[in-house]
């Protein structure tokens, strides 16, 4: 009887030690779910969701404090991906947070810019270069199109311009099924 208890106790000790070691050795840094959600979000850092950036929104979604349909730049596709990841029901984009717009970048009218640096401070990804009383300009490839530089500009010299289509980024369209063109022609 005592032997059996000792064997079981020893086993429990060994396994407990192993588990304890594993918990320390293979500790997961950060929340993997937040990372996964953050990877789906478009990283525009525009704050339209009501959070100060994509990461805080991802954390809020992971905690269940935010809906998955608050990200206009991510669009319907982003919501679908989040719904798939989290096993939640798809919801169409919440209108109060904004509408899905085509990708655009901020462009500073350099004739009008007075060099106040307010837009530089507002840019979440440091995509605007310039100095006080010097002309500012947007580094277009880095601009996420968040529009956060528009409100602080005292002279309204920043406009959003659609990036448009070029031969390089043109996409083949989804094949559209034409309803019986052969027959229509013969008649």
């Amino acid at each position: 009887m005592l032997e059996a208890i000792l064997v079981m106790a020893f086993g429990a000790l060994v396994l407990g030690a192993a588990l304890g070691y594993a918990a320390v050795r293979f500790r997961v840094e950060g929340d993997p779910l937040v990372e996964k959600i953050d990877a789906i979000l478009p990283q525009t850092q525009c704050g339209q969701c009501g959070f100060p950036g994509c990461k805080p929104y991802a954390q809020a979604i992971a905690k269940g404090e935010a809906e998955i349909n608050q990200c206009p730049p991510g669009g319907e596709e982003g919501i679908h991906k989040l719904a798939d990841l989290l096993g939640r029901e798809f919801k169409s984009l919440s209108a109060e947070h904004g509408i899905e717009k085509p990708k655009s970048v901020a462009v500073i009218d350099e004739q009008v810019c007075i060099g106040c640096t307010l837009c530089i401070q507002a840019c979440p990804v440091d995509a605007i270069v310039g100095a006080a009383k010097q002309m500012h300009t947007v580094v277009a490839p880095l601009c996420t199109g968040c529009e956060l530089c528009l409100p602080p500009c005292p002279v309204d010299c920043i406009s959003m311009q659609s990036t448009g289509e070029s031969v390089e980024n043109w996409k083949w369209k989804y094949p559209v099924v034409k309803i019986n063109p052969a027959q229509r022609e013969s008649t």
């Binding site: 953050d38 979000l41 478009p42 990461k55 031969v167 390089e168 043109w170 094949p175 052969a182």
Partner: protein, 563 residues
């Protein structure tokens, strides 16, 4: 020699009507120089070349007008001498119907070359030779326009076993390689010799489909001569069975060597590299003659009275070439390439570029609209026909459903878009259109993801920086207050001291003297605008002074508070 060669087979393939005879009857003709050349800067895979000329400049034939953007790019040259009219957006030979930056040249008719010098590749390092070919604008002329200098690299072993010259030309209607081999076999092989040396290849296999007996004969004579001159048997012309797409690089390598290049690997990993015969010709011209790539052989065929091959300068409008061949009145479209893989052009004014192996004139009669698309019946015919050993129906379902991850799992990117699956499909599904759609969507997503990753990194760095700045500010403030306190403490200690030392007395005297001097100086200075005033103005000034004094008095308690 060819009889000794053991041939292998690739999976699938189809046998469409070849329609090649019409354009092989006449020899290659040189297309007349047009009145205006529109030369797109982006004519190859890789980065978009930077324009090197401005409107108003005069350029010579062969002068570089677009500089390669990095190593994975290829230069562009003026096709003839003349004046640059504009560097502007023009309609591209691309299905999208979009414009891109082009150099528009008005030829002066003198056709004046730049100074041409042969390049001694034997004395130069391989890197120098590759840079030379990049700047000579040599790209693959089979239609994929991949920069040749990137492929002329023997890889990690430093040498290859086999250099394959691709003269199969399997696509219907196209005969530009056929006539090039018939007429200029010797030059092609001279180019092949250069390539062979650069790659240190043991042998050169020239694969030609057996429906081109004239080309095979011409190439065999040239190969024998080359072998005799070199004293070995390195060059071999191999006649391969006619089956579309035998001219695909992977398919031809498989037929000639039996090597099946697996997914994610390159043919050089297996000691084989493949080039089009036209590319070999261009390599010879660039290295031995010092002529950059400025023209190519273009087949004009289809709905025309007299199909023929033309040597056309890049930038020549396709319309001009078509006009030389008596197009039939019912022609309604221009296709760049053949009927299987060709791209519909947005108009006939688009220029001939490096990728233009064929200008195919179409009509409703020649290429009737496809029957309506029916549902997939899962017959598996497409899988039987696929020369890349894929399962087209799976890729079709996933592309159609926009489940791109799954489509990629079925190796969508190994699809060469040859069109065999769509050709055999009994439901007339435009399968390749679905694959192209899925591929471009996946590419766009990858670009977006890269941009998002950069944005995330920059945003996190900004947060970090803001945090650091905050801390630095706080530390500075703390240091300042600490210094202020110390000073105050020192002052209190000073006051508490019972008697001043003589040293302190001298200091105090010095300060008092300085204050005295400053006071005297201040009194000497009078504001310039208070002399010669009328009595009214003087009265006004006194009133203002009085008000100022009053305000100063009022402000005093506040100032004390602030202190």
């Amino acid at each position: 020699m060819s009889a000794l060669q053991r041939l292998f087979k690739f999976h699938g393939g189809v046998k469409p009507a070849y329609n090649k005879e019409a354009s092989t009857g006449l020899p290659i003709a040189v297309a007349p120089t047009p009145t205006l050349l529109v030369i797109p800067l982006h004519q190859s895979i890789g980065g978009m070349p930077r324009p090197l000329v401005k409107a108003g400049e005069r350029v010579l034939k062969g002068q570089r007008i677009g500089g390669a953007d990095g190593n994975a790019s290829s230069a562009v040259h003026a096709s003839t001498s003349g004046a640059v009219v504009a560097v502007e957006m023009r309609l591209m030979p691309h299905t999208s119907g979009l414009s891109a930056l082009c150099v528009v040249i008005e030829p002066d008719g003198r056709d004046e070359w730049i100074a041409r010098q042969p390049f001694d590749f034997r004395k130069a390092s391989p890197t120098q030779t590759r840079d030379y070919l990049r700047d000579a604008g040599v790209v693959g002329l089979g239609g994929a326009v991949f920069p040749t200098h990137l492929k002329l690299n023997p890889g990690k072993h430093g040498k290859l076993d086999t250099l394959v010259l691709n003269g199969a030309e399997c696509e219907p209607f196209i005969t530009c390689d056929d006539v090039l081999m018939r007429e200029r076999a010797e030059t092609i092989l001279k180019g092949a010799i250069i390539m062979r040396e650069m790659l240190s290849a043991r042998q050169v296999l020239i694969g030609i489909e057996d429906n081109k007996p004239e080309a095979i004969a011409a190439m065999e004579i040239a190969a024998q001569a080359a072998n005799q001159a070199a004293g070995d048997l390195a060059m071999q012309v191999v006649s391969v069975p006619t089956r579309y797409p035998a001219g695909g690089a992977k398919q031809l390598i498989r037929v000639l060597t039996g090597i099946e290049v697996p997914h994610g690997k390159r043919s050089t990993d297996y000691g084989v590299q493949c080039f089009n015969v036209g590319t070999a010709y261009a390599v010879y011209e660039a290295i031995a003659l010092g002529q950059p790539l400025i023209s190519r052989i273009v087949t004009v065929a289809g709905n025309v009275g007299q199909a023929r091959n033309y040597e056309a300068l890049f930038g020549t409008p396709m319309r001009d070439l078509v006009a030389l061949c008596d197009p039939l009145p019912d022609s309604d479209r221009v296709i760049m390439g053949g009927p299987m893989m060709g791209l519909l052009m947005p108009g006939d004014e688009v220029p001939v570029v490096k990728a233009t192996n064929c200008v195919l004139v179409g009509s409703r009669k020649l290429f009737p609209p496809p029957p309506p698309e029916m549902p997939c019946i899962r017959c598996g015919e497409c899988a039987k026909a696929c020369p890349a050993d894929l399962q087209p129906f799976e890729m079709y379902w996933f592309s159609r459903a926009k489940i791109f991850g799954k489509a990629q799992e079925y190796k969508l990117f190994d699809c060469i878009e040859c069109g065999c699956c769509a050709y055999v499909c009994p439901s007339h599904i435009p399968l390749v259109d679905y694959y192209r759609f899925a591929k471009s969507e996946i590419w766009a997503r990858e670009v977006d993801k890269e941009a998002a990753d950069i944005a995330r990194e920059r945003y996190e760095f900004r947060l970090l920086r803001e945090e650091r700045e905050k801390q630095e500010k706080a530390a500075k403030l703390a240091a300042k207050t600490a210094a202020g306190r110390e000073k105050a403490a020192a002052a209190i200690a000073e006051a508490a001291k019972p008697a001043a030392t003589p040293e302190d007395d001298t200091k105090k005297a010095l300060i008092a003297a300085a204050l005295e001097r400053a006071k005297a100086q201040k009194e000497q200075v009078h504001p310039g605008n208070v002399s010669n005033l009328t009595p009214e103005q003087e009265a006004e000034v006194t009133a203002i002074e009085a008000r100022r004094a009053e305000i100063r008095e009022m402000a005093k308690p506040h100032l004390r508070q602030d202190d």
